[in-house]
Symmetry: C2
Amino acid sequence: MDKASPMPAYAQLADFLRSGISRGEYPPGSRLPAEATLAKAYGVSAMTARQAVSVLEENNLVRRVQGSGTYVRKVDVGTSNFDLESFARVFGDQDNLQVRIVKAEVKKGAGPEKEVLGLQAKDSVIMVERIISHQNEPFTLHVSFTTFDPTSPTVEAMLDTVVLTGLIFQEGYSNFKRGSLRLTPTLLEPREARLLELKQGEPVFKLDHLFYNFDDQPTAFGWFLISHEKMPLISKVGIWDD
Amino acid sequence: MDKASPMPAYAQLADFLRSGISRGEYPPGSRLPAEATLAKAYGVSAMTARQAVSVLEENNLVRRVQGSGTYVRKVDVGTSNFDLESFARVFGDQDNLQVRIVKAEVKKGAGPEKEVLGLQAKDSVIMVERIISHQNEPFTLHVSFTTFDPTSPTVEAMLDTVVLTGLIFQEGYSNFKRGSLRLTPTLLEPREARLLELKQGEPVFKLDHLFYNFDDQPTAFGWFLISHEKMPLISKVGIWDD
DNA sequence: AAGTGGTCTAGACCACAAA
DNA sequence: TTGTGGTCTAGACCACTTG
């Protein structure tokens, strides 16, 4: 280990092991040297060697088996993992963001949103449709259903704070304890296509969401429609940095 | 800490902190007690307290800032993360898996696959279309392009080993160093719909892949078409286990 | 029984942030 | 300057796997 290097010892060792995997010295399925062996061989403590292996484990390059050893993972489609980083980045760039409400109404009567939000038909929900544009180009259509709570200060505050700011904006208030999201492919309806300035019948992503507040009440139900060109879902697996 | 518990101290402390976040004791944006404070308060060493906080960090519940503190993350759509676990699980269940090759040919001449694989028009590529069924129900259509290497033992071995076994099966040989995947929504063509026993024009996931071998040559290009009902992409964020 | 990863301690020093 | 997280040591014991 190069103690003069600004790179910590565990990262140096991790790089060393990664390069060993990359060169084929440790092929998929093979076992890495034991952590104690690594520690002795590279003159670091056992904890430091362990931390190095942990880096590879977090990168999905190896699998630890207690009592047996640490094994090099096979690279395959199953190890991939998609995040919404490009989606979140747009919402982080608030200077170039425009939000336009295209529809807002109080819905009474039955409807699937009532069931999801745990309400009865007689209860009211607020439905809001927004076009969110980035750099003056439509980015996503957001449809949301929120419970109408008369004790809450104002409807406007709820719309902005609870549903939008809390849900997607990086900064600002949020009061969600948990949420579930589902990604599906779907077709644009004529009206949706017009709002997004896309072609009707074009396949896009639909991102459903249901968020719960700290009282475990479902409070923010809805979905985003996003062109895959504006939200590329790309995942890299294996070793890319040599 | 309960030393008699089978649960390690760091996990107990992590649960304790998680429950504090869950109860709203540490609301989003607030700072957790310093690791040294936690260690003293709960009678564990600094490393153990640190490990506890690391658990929350891996769960995306907190964000560490060096020199400043550890802060509770806001739960929002941007923190979500989709894996292909349900996809990989099907391929792990090899007892109930059937593979049927519906088309196989050697392609010469220009084509997008040549470019992706870094070949010239005069080179040959092997194109294979497979229907992969799970429990006798069509699960996915896989189209793959592989470089034709005359020095390789047999074409059949390549098809099975390199492209299919290596790419998706949990067990077996694999020789990929890295790969990139892209998920897009698309529409089924009539032929594709027939093969998958789905409706024409139905929106489905298209999962493109390009895998590189240990010589950094792109070797396995292709895509999977999968109904979102057979591969639900669901992500949970925040605190779900109380 | 021997080897492996998993947990844990009681210190130490460093890099960085904020007052 | 003080407090925070980040790295590191040199041990220790435990749980588990494998021969």
